[in-house]
Amino acid sequence: MEKDIDKTQEQLKLWCSAPGIEFVSKEAEEAYKKRAKRIADAIQLKKPDRVPIVPMWEYFYARYSNVSCYDVLYNTEIARSAARKTIIELEPDAYQAPLFFNLGPLYDSLDLKELRWPGHGIVLDKGHQFVEDEYMKADEYEALINDPSDFMLRTYLPRVCGNLKAFEALSPFRDMFSYYTMYTPLASLGTEEGVEACRALLKTAEASLNYVKFLSSFDKEMSRLGFPAIFGGIALAPFDAIADTLRGTQGAILDMYRQPEVLKEACEKFVWILLDMAVSAAKISGGSIIFIPLHKGTASTPDGKGGFMSLKQFEEFYWPTLRKLMLRLIDVGLVPNLLIEGDYTSRLEIIKDVPRGTCIYHFEQVDIRKAKKILGNHVCIRGSVPIQLMCTSTPQEVKDYCKELIDVLGEGGGFIMDASCASEDAKPENVKAMIDFTKEYGVYK
């Protein structure tokens, strides 16, 4: 698919020019611009000065800095210094914001049911985990599609937030269109339970503001030091928005057989919900790259067997609305960065159908030669040192693997080095080996 990529070029050029950043030094400014350009070149399939290295870290910041996951979840200063230390010492070309840090107070004030986190069902030195359930019932699609905000407020939130349970007694806010209908929806918040829920909401609002301030001040600090943030916003595949958090895997699977049309309609609805979310985040952050992790559309082997979907189901339920979302993002100059979990070797030809030089595909498992052959001249490939290697092997084995990746995927540009997924349990010496080796061996001549 050919397309005018001026918008992508324009947006990435703006990102590389680092508008509004007051750098700590001339060196920091140069380093920032060099790093951003390296990544922008790779995205646009040009040959950068060397292969960029952008590790996805999440809780690795805590592991590297010898602090617990609990600490980075609850203590702003520990969170900040752990992430800062890791970035400054390992010097990646861009860093991933410590998105999951400082969220403990939020989880607590909501009494969040869809997660377990350190100190709350998870040991202190491991990250949070998602508790999948059927938070939306099979017969609730109509309510979701007709009024997503109302559905979230009165149905979803009371189910996943113990402290917002009273919201299920609310009437729809859409009733508040005139002075004489304005009061009834709020009446239920006047009860004892309602007041408690409002208190919890207020507390959550304060914690949310602290969280946002933490992220933006961290971003500012790192930018000033010369490190660009890789992501400007986040979205999901529309199918995953439903299958991960609302219906759960089994619920969504049953819907594929029992009510396929309504499931597809809900996916369509989520295209604009997710688009809005990502575009507003990018406006605030100034970033261009949108993180989109893919979950429930994968195969489990290179020949396409055994995964969450057949190729036919992928083409029917998963790809059309994901592609639509990506194209809309690309239209406004944003760069979708798919984190493709599972094995997509069997889906390469399908996912090639996007404008050239506008996306990053970060593979977890893929036949690297096939990926380069099919996508190499079309999409920037990111990854994929197997996380198994990062967790269990030696730095030398990691370097050997990186060499193969650079030789195959790095040829001619269009490649960003990273592990196959978040490195939170990786050995620090292996992460360092991946970074240092890429800087040394990945130089383009």
Binding site: V123, V131, E132, I253, D425
Partner: protein, 218 residues
Amino acid sequence: MPGNLVSALTDLKEKEVLEIVQHRLNIGDNPISILDDARCAMETIGNRFASGEYFIPDLVYSGVILSEISDIVKPKLTGEAEIKRLGKVVFGTVAGDIHDIGKDIVVFMLDVNAFEVYDLGVDVPVQKFIEKIKESNAPIVGLSGFLTLAFDAMKETVEAIKAAGLRDKVKIMIGGGQIDEEVRKYTGADAYGRDAMAAVELAKGWLGLNRNPRQRAR
């Protein structure tokens, strides 16, 4: 006149399956023969999954239809339907990991393939595995895990089984999103399986049962 239960279930025709089951009960058919047919269909479904024709959604959907059949048929059963079990398997998601989607599918496929599965759930402490192995005398242990933290938890579980003097009494299989040969070596398990049918094959192999007669002939 409703059609054949085995082919309707194999092809995942939910409505048709339920009609056939109801019809057969109405005309006084033996509930055990209905369950036998369902089991026969599940075997074909498992084979289709193993050959790449079917996917996880097909397995999950067939599981849901099967439990609907069982809900209709069970009240009509006089006495327990005796299924000849092939062998015992102790199964669970290892300590620290609370993921259950993969584990549940494997447990389900082992169960419909006539294994007696002790499903210990998720986030299972090593001690619980050991107690259940001792109590059940199961010759097979399955460790599931989705996150990278499961690598160490699996390793610790295998080591604890060894320390309890049970290592030579059990075969241990591991599986889950990130599990490969590299991780198998790291944990000291006997084998890893890519998916639910691989687990069934491993378990049958360890018990000296071969699924495919042609393979046996070779």
